[in-house]
C-alpha cells in the first residue's frame, strides 16, 4: 500500500545538497559527530504502512526483534491492529447510522428502539477487557526484559550534564559518543551533574531518565552493527535539542577499543584539546556560532568586552574562565554566567591542551604535527583525572 506520495513537499527540502545538510546538522549538534544515516536517510514513506518497518526506525537491539512475541515491535503492531479494528468498527457504525437514519425533510421521526440492554452493555464492557489483559501482560513481560539486566553485563559509566554526554568504559577510556560491542549485554550506569536528562536510542527502543542525585541504569543487548542516533528526551534547557550524539555498535571489543582509546602522548596538544572540548565544552560553546556561551573561533588574541571593562584573551584569561567562570563574564552572558567551574576537573596539562586548541579552534594547525612531548608520570595522572567528575 504505497499510497503516500513520498515526494510531497520534498522540493522545499531538496534545495539543499547532502553536504549542506550534513554541515547544518553537524553545527546543530555542537560540532560532534552525526551519524550519516541522520543526514542521508530521507523520510522513508514507501514501506507498507501496515508493517512495523513503516512505524519504527531500524531495529538494532534484542528488544526490537520483529516476530518475537514479547518484542516492542510485535506488541506495537498487535495494539495497532486492535486499534484499527475497533476504530474502523466505530467509524463504520457512526457513518452508517448517520446516513441511514438521517433526518429527511426536517421530519423528526425516530424509530422505536430500546434505550438500554444490560446484557449488551455488560458484554461490551467486559469483552474488550480480555484484549486489554493480553496487552498488559505482554507489555509487562517486555518491560521486565528491558529492566532486568543479565549478569554478564559490561558496565559503562554515563555522565550527563548540560549539554554533553560522557561515556566511560571499563578500561578507563572515555568518549563523547557511545561505543558498544555487538551482542554484548551492556548496562549503562547513569548519573547527572545538573538537571534531569533522558538517554534514548530509538534503534534500541530503550529509554531511561538520568536523574541527579541517584544512579539509574539503561540495559541493552545490541544485535546489529551500525551508527545510531542517541538523544536526550527529558527537557533540560536551552540546548536540549542539541544534546544528541552518536551510538556506534562495533563488531568486536578490539574494534571498539580502537575507537575509544586515546593515548594523549600520541597526539598533538591541539588534538588532545579538541577531544577535551568535545567531551566537556561543546554543549555550550560552538566553534563558529555564539550560543549559550561565546563561540571559540577568532577568540584568541582579541580584546573581549566583559560585563565590566575589557580583557585581552590570553592564557591567563582562558585559565581564569575555565576555573572561575563567574569572575570575568563576557558582556551579554551575565550578570551570572551559566557556566559551572571546572576547578579540579582538569590537570595543568589538560589546561595547556585546551589553550592550544583555543588558539586555532576552527582548524588544526599545519606546522605543529609532531606528537606532544609528555612526561610519562604526568600523562598517567592526566588520564586518571579525566575520570573525576
Amino acid at each position: 500500500m504505497n499510497w503516500l506520495p513520498s515526494n510531497l513537499f520534498v522540493p522545499l527540502f531538496a534545495q539543499q545538497s547532502t553536504e549542506d545538510i550534513a554541515k547544518i546538522v553537524s553545527e546543530m549538534n555542537n560540532d560532534t559527530t552525526t551519524p550519516m544515516s541522520a543526514v542521508e536517510r530521507p523520510a522513508d514513506l514507501s514501506s507498507n504502512w501496515l508493517s512495523s518497518e513503516f512505524h519504527f526506525p531500524e531495529a538494532a537491539s534484542t528488544f526490537a526483534v520483529t516476530g518475537d512475541y514479547y518484542s516492542i515491535d510485535w506488541l506495537y503492531m498487535f495494539v495497532f491492529w486492535v486499534c484499527v479494528v475497533f476504530f474502523a468498527g466505530i467509524v463504520a457504525a457512526m457513518v452508517y447510522f448517520c446516513v441511514k437514519y438521517r433526518r429527511k425533510d426536517g421530519v423528526i421521526d425516530p424509530q422505536p428502539s430500546t434505550s438500554h440492554n444490560t446484557a449488551l452493555e455488560i458484554g461490551w464492557s467486559v469483552g474488550p477487557s480480555f484484549l486489554l489483559i493480553i496487552i498488559f501482560v505482554v507489555g509487562a513481560q517486555g518491560f521486565f526484559d528491558m529492566r532486568i539486566p543479565r549478569d554478564d553485563c559490561e558496565e559503562i559509566q554515563v555522565t550527563a550534564s548540560r549539554w554533553n554526554w560522557k561515556f566511560t568504559y571499563p578500561d578507563g577510556d572515555s568518549s563523547a559518543e557511545l561505543h558498544l560491542v555487538n551482542k554484548q549485554p551492556t548496562k549503562l550506569v547513569m548519573q547527572s551533574t545538573d538537571v534531569l536528562h533522558s538517554l534514548y536510542i530509538p534503534a534500541f527502543r530503550q529509554k531511561v531518565d538520568v536523574v541527579p542525585g541517584r544512579y539509574t541504569y539503561f540495559y541493552v543487548v545490541p544485535n546489529k552493527e551500525g551508527e545510531y542516533r542517541l538523544s536526550c528526551t527529558e527537557y533540560c534547557g536551552d540546548k536540549h535539542s542539541q544534546m544528541r550524539t552518536l551510538c556506534k555498535v562495533h563488531a568486536t571489543p578490539a574494534a571498539r577499543k580502537a575507537s575509544t582509546q586515546w593515548i594523549e602522548a600520541e597526539y598533538t596538544p591541539w588534538e588532545n584539546g579538541e577531544r577535551l572540548y568535545k567531551i566537556n565544552c561543546s554543549g555550550c560553546h560552538n566553534i563558529n556560532k555564539a550560543g549559550t556561551g561565546p563561540a571559540f573561533a577568532g577568540l584568541w588574541g582579541k580584546t573581549e568586552n566583559l560585563m565590566k571593562g575589557t580583557v585581552k584573551v590570553d592564557e591567563n584569561y582562558i585559565r581564569n574562565s575555565i576555573l572561575y567562570p563567574q569572575q570575568d563574564v563576557v558582556a551579554g552572558y551575565g550578570p551570572i554566567s551559566k557556566m559551572n567551574s571546572f576547578k579540579g576537573k582538569f590537570t595543568p596539562e589538560q589546561l595547556n591542551y585546551l589553550i592550544a586548541f583555543l588558539k586555532s579552534p576552527a582548524e588544526k594547525p599545519q606546522d605543529n604535527d609532531k606528537p606532544a612531548e609528555g612526561t610519562g608520570e604526568g600523562e598517567k595522572n592526566a588520564e586518571a583525572n579525566t575520570e573525576v567528575h
Binding site: L12, F13, I21, V25, A38, V39, R41, P42, D44, H55, F56, I72, L75, Y76, V79, F80, V82, C83, F87, I90, F97, Y101, R102, R103, I108, P112, S113, S115, H116, L120, E121, W124, L132, I135, F136, V138, G139, A140, F143, M146, L196, Y200, P202, A203, R205, Q206, K207, D209, V211, P212, G213, S231, C232, T233, Y235, G237, D238, H240, S241, Q242
Partner: protein, 567 residues
C-alpha cells in the same frame, strides 16, 4: 393547558433579558448572575485560547525547517512552555465547566443561580488574577522556560520567572476549586422538586464527577507549587538533589494532580457530547446509567494512575507494573461511553447540523486519542514512545480533538439559548470541517514521527522528520483558521443572527423552557419537569415557531404521544 397569551409571555423573545436588564460595565463587573459570569468566562477563555494558539502556530512554523526557523532556542523553549501552561491552566480546565457549565448548570436543574453566587464571581476574578500572573511571566522579561510541568531541578535553577508563573497556577487552582465546590453544592441542594439524580441530564453527572476531582486533586497542586517556590527561595531540600531532595518526588506530586486534571478536561466534554448526540438523534440516550456511572468511575480511577507518566523515571518496576494495570481499567468506562453514543444514533432521527457535526468529530478524534492511549499504557511500548511526538499527538487528540471540539459543539448547541439568535449553519459546518481536517493533518503525522523516534520539545531535529513537520505545520494553519472561523460565525450570530425561539432544537432538558435569551431570573414560569431525554414531551408550536412542553401547548394541535418505547 395554557392560553396562547400565557405561552407567548413565557416563550416569546422577551424585551428584557439577562443581557440587557441592567447596563453599564459595573453591572457586568459586579454581577452575581451565573449567566453573565459564564459569558465573561467564555470571553476570557477564548482570549487565552487565541493567545496560546498563536504561540502554537509560531512554534509550528519554526519547526517547518529541520534546523529551526526564526526562533532562538531560548525563545522556542519559552514559547512551548507558555503555550502549554496557558492552554492547560487558563483555557482547557475552565473552558467547558466554567463557561458552558456556569451558564447551563443552574438552568438544567430549574434553579435561579448557583448555590454561592459571590464565590462564583470570585472564581472568575481569581481566573483573571492567575492568568495575569502567567502573562506577567512573559511581560516581566524573564519569560518561563520550564515546560508546563515545572519539573525539578530545572525549575529551581532556571533564571526565568518560575515564581510568577507557579503563583499564577496556584491562584488558578483556587479558581477551579471554587467552581467545583459551587457545582457540587448546587447539584446536591438545588435540584427542581421531583428531579431525582437519574433525571439529571448526563452533562450534570459529568460536571459533578469533574467537581469531585477539582476539589480533591487541585489542593495537591497548590501544595506542590508552594513547595517548589519554597525550594527556589529557601532551599528547603525537598526536591533539589543538591540539598538532599528528590526530583522524582516532585513528579509524583505533580502528576497526582495533573493526571486527574486530564479528566477535569475531558469529562465535561464527554457530558456535552452525551447531550448533543441524544438531542440531534431525538432519541433517549442509550444506557443512561452506564454513562452516568462511567463518569464517576473515570473520576475515581483517575486518582490511581498518575505513575504512568513516569515509566522511564526510574521508579520501582513493581510500582510501574501496578500503574500500568490500573491505567488499562480506565479504558473500559471510556469505551463504554463511545459504544453508548453509537447505540444512541441507532434508529434515531439524526440532524447533521453544526453542533452534531462537532459531536461526530469528537467521537472520531477521541476514538483515536483514546485508542492510542493503549500504546502508552502498555509498559514496553511506552518506554519507546515516552517523551516523543507520539505522546504529543496522543494528548492533543484527547485535549484538542476531544475537549476543544466538544466546547465548540456545545457553544453551537447553546448559542441560540445564550443570545437568542441563530448562526449560519452552513458556515458553521464548514468551520467544523476545517477544524476536523486541519486537526488530523496536524497531529496524525506526529504519531508516525513519534514512533520513529522524534523527541518532544526539540527546537531543531533530524532532516528525516522534516516532511512530517511540514504536513503538521500546514495542518495547524488550517486548524487555526477553522477555529477562528467558528468563533467568527458565532460572534456574527450573537449580534446579527436571525432571532430564534425558546427551543429550536426540540431538546427536553429544563434550560430550553426559558426564553432565548433567558430572563434574568432564568424562568418566569415554573418549568415542567420531564425526563431530560423524553423528546416526545416537547411539541411544535406554530405561532411561536419553536418547541414547547406538551402540557402548555394548545390541546387542539397537540399530536398524540408516540408509542411508548421500552425504558
Amino acid at each position: 393547558m395554557a392560553s396562547a397569551e400565557i405561552r407567548n409571555k413565557i416563550f416569546d423573545t422577551p424585551e428584557t433579558n439577562y443581557l440587557n436588564h441592567t447596563r453599564g460595565w459595573k453591572s457586568w463587573a459586579f454581577t452575581l448572575d451565573h449567566k453573565r459570569i459564564g459569558v465573561m468566562y467564555l470571553i476570557g477563555v477564548t482570549i487565552a485560547l487565541f493567545l496560546a494558539g498563536a504561540f502554537a502556530l509560531v512554534l509550528r512554523w519554526h519547526l517547518f525547517w529541520f534546523e529551526g526557523g526564526f526562533l532562538s532556542n531560548e525563545m522556542y523553549n519559552q514559547m512551548f512552555t507558555l503555550h502549554g501552561a496557558i492552554m492547560v491552566f487558563s483555557f482547557i480546565i475552565p473552558s467547558v465547566p466554567a463557561a458552558l457549565g456556569n451558564f447551563v448548570l443552574p438552568m438544567m436543574i430549574g434553579a435561579k443561580d448557583v448555590a454561592f453566587p459571590r464565590m462564583n464571581l470570585m472564581s472568575f476574578y481569581l481566573w483573571i488574577a492567575g492568568t495575569c500572573c502567567l502573562a506577567a511571566a512573559i511581560l516581566s522579561g524573564y519569560g518561563l522556560d520550564t515546560g508546563w510541568t515545572f519539573y525539578t531541578p530545572y525549575s529551581i535553577e532556571t533564571s526565568t520567572g518560575v515564581i510568577f508563573a507557579t503563583f499564577g497556577a496556584f491562584i488558578l487552582g483556587f479558581s477551579s476549586i471554587f467552581t467545583g465546590l459551587n457545582f457540587l453544592v448546587t447539584v446536591n441542594t438545588m435540584r427542581a422538586p421531583g428531579q431525582s439524580w437519574f433525571k439529571l441530564p448526563l452533562f450534570l453527572w459529568s460536571l459533578y464527577a469533574t467537581s469531585i476531582i477539582q476539589i480533591l486533586a487541585t489542593p495537591v497542586l497548590g501544595i506542590t507549587l508552594l513547595m517548589l517556590i519554597a525550594e527556589r527561595t529557601m532551599h528547603i531540600g525537598i526536591f533539589d538533589p543538591k540539598y538532599g531532595g528528590d526530583p522524582v518526588l516532585f513528579q509524583h506530586f505533580f502528576w497526582f494532580y495533573s493526571h486527574p486534571a486530564v479528566y477535569i478536561m475531558i469529562l465535561p466534554a464527554m457530558g456535552v457530547i452525551s447531550e448533543l448526540i441524544s438531542v440531534y438523534s431525538q432519541k433517549r440516550i442509550f444506557g443512561y446509567s452506564f454513562i452516568a456511572f462511567s463518569s464517576v468511575a473515570i473520576a475515581l480511577l483517575g486518582f490511581l494512575v498518575w505513575g504512568h507518566h513516569m515509566f522511564t523515571s526510574g521508579q520501582s518496576p513493581m510500582v510501574t507494573l501496578i500503574f500500568s494495570a490500573i491505567t488499562f481499567t480506565v479504558a473500559i468506562p471510556s469505551a463504554v461511553k463511545v459504544f453508548n453514543w453509537l447505540a444512541t444514533l441507532y434508529k434515531g432521527s439524526i440532524l447533521l447540523n453544526t453542533p452534531m457535526c462537532y459531536a461526530l468529530s469528537f467521537i472520531f478524534l477521541f476514538g483515536i486519542g483514546g485508542l492510542t492511549g493503549l500504546f502508552l499504557g502498555a509498559l514496553s511500548t511506552d518506554i519507546h514512545l515516552h517523551d516523543t511526538y507520539f505522546v504529543v499527538a496522543h494528548f492533543h487528540f484527547v485535549m484538542v480533538g476531544g475537549t476543544l471540539t466538544a466546547l465548540l459543539g456545545g457553544l453551537f448547541h447553546w448559542w441560540p439559548k445564550m443570545f437568542g439568535r441563530m448562526y449560519n449553519d452552513m458556515l458553521g459546518r464548514i468551520s467544523c470541517f476545517l477544524v476536523f481536517a486541519g486537526f488530523n493533518l496536524t497531529f496524525f503525522p506526529q504519531f508516525v514521527m513519534g514512533s520513529r523516534g522524534m523527541p518532544r520539545r526539540y527546537a531543531s531535529y533530524d532532516p528525516e522528520f522534516q516532511i512530517f513537520h511540514q504536513w503538521s505545520t500546514f495542518g495547524a494553519s488550517i486548524l487555526g483558521f477553522g477555529i477562528l472561523m467558528s468563533f467568527g460565525v458565532l460572534l456574527y450570530a450573537a449580534f446579527y443572527g436571525k432571532r430564534c425561539g425558546a427551543n429550536p432544537f426540540k431538546a427536553a432538558s429544563l434550560e430550553w423552557q426559558s426564553s432565548s435569551p433567558p430572563d434574568f431570573h432564568n424562568f418566569i414560569h415554573k418549568p415542567i419537569l420531564h425526563d431530560p431525554y423524553d423528546f416526545d414531551s416537547q411539541v411544535y408550536d406554530k405561532d411561536l415557531d419553536t418547541y414547547i412542553p406538551r402540557e402548555l401547548a394548545d390541546p387542539k394541535t397537540v399530536p398524540p404521544r408516540r408509542e411508548p418505547v421500552h425504558h
